[in-house]
């Protein structure tokens, strides 16, 4: 298949404009870490390979902002800014697999730090995108505080490559913490929710509060700050049965959290959002159902945010699909498939959200000929039948 491999925004715009007639269907790819997300893309006439679109455009450590080409892996950006004691406050599992900044934006991915810093939606302060006709459009800018114009980055957040190509991204940076300690508290889902809620309201300002299931049920509390401050807060957090982890132990625990989101070949990985207080019951239901179906599950939940990632393994493909259907029944449009190896059908999405008309209208305005990412949203964008 033809691959367009631009290394600058101009090349990208030109390549897309020039291929409008010859290659009407395009699939945008980065390092391929999100191929399993959503529904499978339909065959395209060419891929838009963004892995050549890399590099830092402008880094201003004193302003704590960095502009990068969208094909740059997040891990590389982290390396660059770490030298100045800074970081992008985002820790998605896919970062370790060299996921690109553009890919992370298009998938709305995030890791345990979402508890304190949200997702890329909350960290991107400017974007440049290329539309289906090659138009290059910028929104936002290089300053953190900016309300001039519409924020196109929001539309592209979670767009799975169906609106256009993210070409450049400007990120807000945070100071890298001087000290980090993780405390592990053995806890059922219910107890974990209570402890996490208590910690949030006590003002201890945990950077991450991740409840994990499989093999043991536990709550991981990550504290970040100054060495003395963290030591003080660790004492506050540590209750009966809590373990203050060594760096190696902590690394192992957080790797396990990442592994849940990535999964293994043959697994199904699903992420869903729910009201925080509804989390324990929802998770209990999933585990019970998985037991019935003879499936194994590991879970990682950002408790205060109410975002849960569930890795389903073993059992029959049909059972994976049953479990997904059950999630769709309960959590409707707020369910995203992150890995679909285990599914025997391709219906990755649940019932569309009430705002689906707006989503379709956006798609229609931005990509009226449906050049990009056909199939990724399945029936939601209904691209084969034409758009309303």
């Amino acid at each position: 298949m033809t691959a367009l491999c631009p290394s600058t925004v101009d090349e990208l715009g030109a390549a897309i404009a020039e291929t409008a007639a010859t290659h009407p269907r395009l699939l945008i790819t980065g390092n391929g870490t999100a191929e399993g997300w959503g529904a499978p893309a339909r065959p395209a006439d060419a891929t838009v390979d963004t892995t050549g679109l890399t590099g830092v455009i402008r880094y201003s450590p004193a302003d704590m902002t960095i502009a990068v080409r969208a094909g740059t892996p997040l891990a590389i950006v982290q390396q660059v800014v770490r030298e100045h004691g800074q970081r992008v406050a985002l820790d998605p599992a896919r970062a370790a697999q060299d996921a690109t900044v553009g890919g992370l934006l298009a998938t709305a991915d995030a890791g345990p730090l979402r508890t304190s810093h949200g997702s890329l939606r909350d960290l991107v302060i400017g974007t440049t995108v290329v539309l289906a006709d090659g138009t290059t459009a910028r929104s936002g800018g290089h300053v953190i505080k900016n309300v001039a114009g519409y924020d196109l980055a929001k539309l592209f957040h979670g767009s799975l490559g169906t609106l256009g190509v993210v070409a450049e991204v400007v990120l807000r940076l945070h100071p890298a913490p001087r000290a980090v300690t993780t405390v592990r508290v053995p806890a059922s889902a219910e107890h974990g929710f209570q402890v996490a809620t208590h910690l949030v309201t006590s003002g201890v300002e945990a950077a991450a509060l991740e409840w994990c299931a499989g093999p043991d049920d536990r709550l991981l509390v990550r504290l970040e700050g100054t060495p003395d401050g963290v030591a003080d807060r660790v004492r506050e957090v540590s209750a009966d049965g809590a373990t203050v982890l060594t760096d190696d132990e902590a690394c192992e625990e957080w790797s396990a959290v990442a592994a849940t989101a990535v999964g293994e070949p043959g697994d199904t990985v699903v992420r869903f959002g729910a009201l925080p207080a509804a989390g324990p019951a929802a998770l209990g239901k999933i585990r019970a159902f998985a037991d019935d179906l003879g499936l194994g599950v590991t879970i990682s939940s950002s408790v205060p945010a109410g975002v849960h990632t569930v890795r389903v393994h073993g059992g029959a493909a049909r059972a994976h699909s049953h479990l997904l259907a059950a999630l769709h029944d309960d959590h409707h449009a707020n369910v995203t498939v992150l890995r679909r190896d285990g599914l025997h059908t391709s219906s990755a999405w649940g019932p569309p959200p009430s705002a689906i008309r707006v989503m379709r209208a956006v798609k229609h305005r931005f990509d009226p000929t449906c050049r990009f990412g056909a199939g990724r949203f399945d029936g939601w964008l209904d691209d084969e039948k034409g758009l309303s």
Binding site: A108, R114, D151, S202, G203, A274, G306, V362
Partner: protein, 482 residues
């Protein structure tokens, strides 16, 4: 507008919810920016979300432009009415529907004031983080339209970071829920695009906001500096030290004079700049970092540090800061509040250039700003009676455009509205603006929702935006411009 349509509004909303008296309509002809005035054909005051939808449905069917209005505190003319259009005031949708302390969120109607959300949450030890200076007046609906920040947004972000979902009436009169119970949802971030759209994409009628726990500790100091530049350098050094203050605010001598005239908030009258730094968070972290902040202020030549000893003193510091704009009314008959952003490292450059521009124009400029994020609020002082209005407007515009030229933005929080729509081509290319227009058209096909705001229109801006060039998709007949 025909009498039939008016009768239909009356039938749908009730007679007391439709204002048509010419005198009453005049009171709605402007918002907080009084330089732009347009008298609407009608003002509607619906009491329920359903009534808002009814009103918009009639507008959509009749192609009547409508403008949503909260408390009318906006400073960019975002709620400026449209001639022959209607104003939909949300001031009767003021219920706090629910405060949910377990999930730390509140469900409110759009006319609830920003501060009332925090008041309702206070018994649970929670609050709503965005705190624009007008928080006791401005409404959450308006905060959503403008993506309001406030003094504490350096650490806590803007309205977009604190709204989970909103029931909206779309410009065709249909309703949809944008966002969800958690930040994870499938598909485009339609709520994120809606927030900050300045009322051009629809009307939010029921909003779920996040509430944060009150920080365990808060420390506030006011440091005086012999120059604004030194104060700016102090801020840069604080942030370079890896400290994210909850707030870092600065006022120059003119602003301090005004604040002290309005209320004695304890600021030193004989200093060139006052820097307010507030830290909050866990007690241990705050104590350690507060000592560092004091040291850094000293390193940069502070002449006096006043630490707020208790909650009362802290409240007074903030009361002074938040009243600064309006207080300037005491020392100048007229003034324009500008709002621009520069990269923080260029603060000193920007202030020098603003001083030069002001000197050239023969006018005084006072600077009040959010130093932590480079958001400047130069106040251009003038006297309309002395015929200085035009010069003041020119100076103000020049300052905003200076911010863009320095790599910043036309607006950090007041919005583009009517005021700056014609300056948008300075910051964005035609393609950028045409693409933004696509977003707008996706929500508002007929262009009836707060038309004339945000994006420049040839009618408003004359020749300024340059020759109209059709968007390629428009040329291909795939879209139409609204």
């Amino acid at each position: 507008m025909t009498g039939d349509v008016r009768a239909e509004f009356v039938a749908a909303l009730g007679a007391d919810a439709v204002l048509a008296d010419p005198v009453e309509l005049r009171a709605y002809e402007c918002d907080g920016l009084t330089g732009f005035r347009v008298v609407p054909a009608l003002v509607l005051l619906p009491r329920t979300a359903a009534a808002v939808a009814d009103a918009v449905r009639i507008c959509a069917r009749e192609r009547i432009p409508f403008v949503a209005r909260g408390a009318g505190t906006g400073l960019s003319g975002g709620a400026l009415p449209v001639a022959n259009g209607v104003v939909i005031s949300l001031q009767r949708l003021r219920s706090i529907i629910e405060v949910d302390p377990v999930n730390r969120r509140a469900v409110v109607e759009p006319g609830v004031t920003n501060l009332d959300i925090s008041r309702a949450a206070a018994p649970h030890g929670l609050y709503f983080a965005p705190d624009p200076s007008s928080q006791q007046v401005c409404t959450i609906g308006g905060n959503i339209a403008e993506n309001s920040g406030g003094a504490h947004c350096l650490k806590y972000g803007f309205t977009v970071h604190h709204v989970l979902s909103a029931d909206v009436v779309l410009p065709d009169g249909t309703t949809a829920v944008l966002g969800a119970d958690s930040p994870h949802l499938g598909g485009y971030d339609l709520l994120g695009a809606f927030i900050g759209s300045e009322g051009t994409l629809g009307i939010a009628t029921r909003i779920t906001v996040k509430l944060l726990p009150k920080p365990a500790a808060v420390r506030t100091l006011v440091a005086d500096f012999p120059s604004v530049e030194q104060a700016g350098d102090a801020v840069t050094s604080i942030i370079a030290a890896g400290i994210v203050p909850a707030a870092a605010e600065m006022m120059d001598a003119v602003a301090i004079e005004a604040v002290q005239a309005a209320l004695d908030a304890g600021y030193s009258r004989d200093t060139a700049a006052a820097l307010i730094v507030e830290l909050d968070g866990p007690q241990a972290e705050v104590d350690i970092q507060f000592a560092e902040v004091r040291q850094l202020c000293q390193n940069h030549g502070t002449t006096n540090i006043r630490v707020a000893g208790d909650e009362h003193e802290r409240a007074l510091v903030w009361k002074g800061r938040k009243a600064a704009f309006a207080a300037v009314g005491r020392i100048s008959p007229d003034y324009i509040v500008q709002d621009g952003v520069v990269p923080r490292t260029l603060l000193a450059t920007a202030l020098t250039r603003i001083g030069e521009l002001a000197a050239a124009a023969g006018l005084r400029v006072s600077n009040v700003f959010h130093a932590g994020d480079g958001n400047l609020h130069p106040l251009v002082l003038y006297s309309e009676a002395a015929g200085e209005l035009e010069r003041a407007e020119e100076l103000s515009r020049a300052i905003a455009e200076l911010c863009v030229d320095l790599g910043g933005s036309l607006s950090g929080e007041h919005g583009i509205g009517t005021d700056k729509a014609c300056s948008m081509p300075r910051q964005f290319s035609e393609d950028d603006l045409a693409t933004m227009a696509l977003l707008r058209a996706a929500y508002d096909t007929d262009g009836i929702c707060n038309p004339g705001k945000v994006l420049p229109t040839p009618r408003l801006c004359g020749e300024k935006p340059g020759v109209h060039r059709p968007h390629p998709l428009e040329a291909a007949g795939l879209i139409e411009r609204t």
